[in-house]
Symmetry: C2
Subunit: 152 residues, 2 copies
């Protein structure tokens, strides 16, 4: 029954939540980066270049990522009408459905974890976490926005 510091607790909490999503994604043969791709595309139809910026990856890495996702039928490439050099990437219906399944399973897991807290604890956690995240967003200028896999 060791006393844990706030920092250790936050680190453990992060690994716990991150690992939960990773496990649920793996159940559907999705890596974390493929899961992020689906998350980014949920409400966007970016070019390959823009997608690389969202993911913080080199464009050559994204070529392979989208190759594999397209081979599985999760995303589609289309030529951009505006610029014949560009390629637009979007989610297919199976891709959208898969993303929804993973997100639902993940949310169920976290809901179950939250159920172990008392209602006042849940309220306190919600308030502090919200402030923590928004304060960080303001301080750094990076808004994580809403959704499973936020992006700048």
């Amino acid at each position: 029954m060791a006393t844990i510091t706030t920092i250790d607790g936050l680190a453990q909490l992060s690994f716990l939540i991150y690992g939960t999503l990773e496990r649920r994604a793996a159940e559907h043969d999705l890596s974390m980066v493929q899961t992020r791709v689906l998350g980014v595309l949920r409400d966007r139809r970016p070019t390959m270049n823009q997608l690389a910026a969202y993911l913080g990856l080199d464009k050559s890495s994204v070529t392979g990522l989208i190759d594999r996702a397209e081979r599985r039928g999760l995303v589609a490439r289309e030529p951009s009408p505006a610029d014949r050099r560009s390629v637009l990437v979007s989610l297919t219906e199976p891709g959208r459905a898969l993303a929804a399944r993973v997100q639902a399973a993940f949310e169920a897991d976290v809901t179950e974890m939250l159920a172990r807290l008392t209602p006042p604890e849940r309220a306190a956690l919600s308030a502090v976490v919200t402030h923590f995240v928004t304060a960080h967003a303001e301080a750094t200028g990076v808004d994580l926005a809403a959704g499973l896999l936020p992006s700048p």
Copy 2:
């Protein structure tokens, strides 16, 4: 100024903390898994097999991981006196020093984030996070124990 749910907030918080560690580790040319290896070895001298269990990886994956860490002088292999099939893995002094530097930088980052909260908020966060993590440990039987990179 969208309202975020507790689940979204927790997910964002987790990505934020996880990404912070990942960035600090990368500054020292450490991947997350190599960082976990150093963390596990901080207070253990396991066999390859035991290390694989701590990391949740196949033993063949750990062979390559330790090959690369050993090549960098961060860890050392020794024959086990107890069983001539076994190999004991331990941190070298440079490995220990590197792990300490990464941990210190990470803790400084999180401390800075926590400084954006009020003292009562910090106290509330600490209490709830501790309960969250310990409640999960009790419910699942997995004790994350102390330290930067907890293991079963």
